[in-house]
Symmetry: C2
Subunit: 219 residues, 2 copies
């Protein structure tokens, strides 16, 4: 159901999300099986973190609700795991500036039309976790890591798919639309590096914002 | 030459970097040929942006200067392109919080020991671009995009490899060491989502920091 075509109900019942095994067939994560995405997640993120696996379902749910062909950007409300689900399943990345993070500690992601800001926000609905005790224990941090049953947790994640999600249509704030331009580039007279002249007579690093100290005598 | 084994000269001459064709053999980007990395960049970033291709050489140069087996994090001083080179060539990503961005508009990246903050900073040295007019035109924004010869620009990037880089040993600021913990999780009484209780009686979204407005009546 593309966004805009049919209004979402206030509390949407998601297609094929029966809160369980989806008619006995486990849900893929976009073009990937759960197992394939598990492998891709490990390779990119270092491990197939539960949040990244759930994030895969969240991102695919959001993608499916945008009108076909929408050029979208993404806004994650946590910096933990979810941004990588976006990067693995869309062309939004940190380095192309189509992935934005405003870290509010909320496990939610919005995908939105990059021109209008109209889009869909997907979050985890804690009220829907009752059937998934391992997910609940992990998500609500009720269980310390060593007490988690990771095999059962992953099984529940695959079984739940996107049935544990909440969906909202949203208008994303203007600050996340459009990208700034760098303006003219010059050479910093102090360090010799290239920098946007808008920043002043020296680069921001030489103005005291360098996040490091150098260890070599002359550099 | 691993960092720490032999001190870097103040203005290091890089191994196999003769400022040209590297004895007639074009330089790989880590495990990839230039052409392979070009393809991977397109797939992840949407296009093989020049900054991403150069960034590949920068990241590999930095990796090679860390002692073998160092568990490192990355700090990019621009949000443009370079963060994606880090994500494609290391296990540092936005979502695992091992990639940090402090956007100073400087084309530089540091890889550093995640415990000590000791590492290496690689930037582009504008003084070394004289032999590469297309790179210079692009990097210094002397040429508008439509006037760039992208084929020649990519040829120069492959030819230059990491020979256009500057390397510094650095101590990265403490703020980039270690990750915070979320503390106890609760349910926001207003929106019903899970949030870190440290944030107060409601989640930060309901406290006015939500980066969107909802379009559905009841959500």
């Amino acid at each position: 159901m593309p966004l805009g075509a049919v209004p979402l109900p206030a509390h949407p019942t998601l297609p094929s999300a029966h809160g369980g095994q989806h008619d006995g067939i486990f849900m893929n994560i976009g073009a990937y099986t759960f197992s394939q995405f598990h492998g891709i997640a490990e390779e990119f993120h270092g491990c197939a973190a539960p949040g990244l696996l759930i994030g895969g379902y969240m991102v695919e749910l959001a993608k499916g609700m945008l009108p076909e062909g929408t050029l979208f950007e993404a806004l994650a409300e946590t910096s933990k795991c979810l941004p990588d689900a976006v990067q693995l399943l869309s062309l939004c990345s940190t380095g192309n500036k189509r992935l934005h993070v405003r870290d509010l500690g909320l496990y939610a992601v919005s995908l939105y039309d990059k021109k209008t800001g109209l889009g869909v926000r997907v979050s985890i609905d804690p009220a829907k976790l009752y059937a998934y005790p391992e997910i609940q224990g992990w998500f609500m941090k009720e269980k310390p890591k060593h007490a988690q049953d990771i095999v059962e947790l992953e099984r529940e994640i695959e079984e739940a798919g996107h049935s544990i999600c909440k969906v909202q249509r949203v208008q994303v704030d203007k600050i996340f639309l459009g990208h700034g331009h760098m303006g003219t580039i010059g050479i910093c007279p102090r360090c010799g590096e290239a920098y946007p002249l808008d920043h002043g007579p020296q680069c921001l690093g030489c103005q005291g914002q360098a996040p490091y100290t150098t260890l070599d005598p002359e550099s």
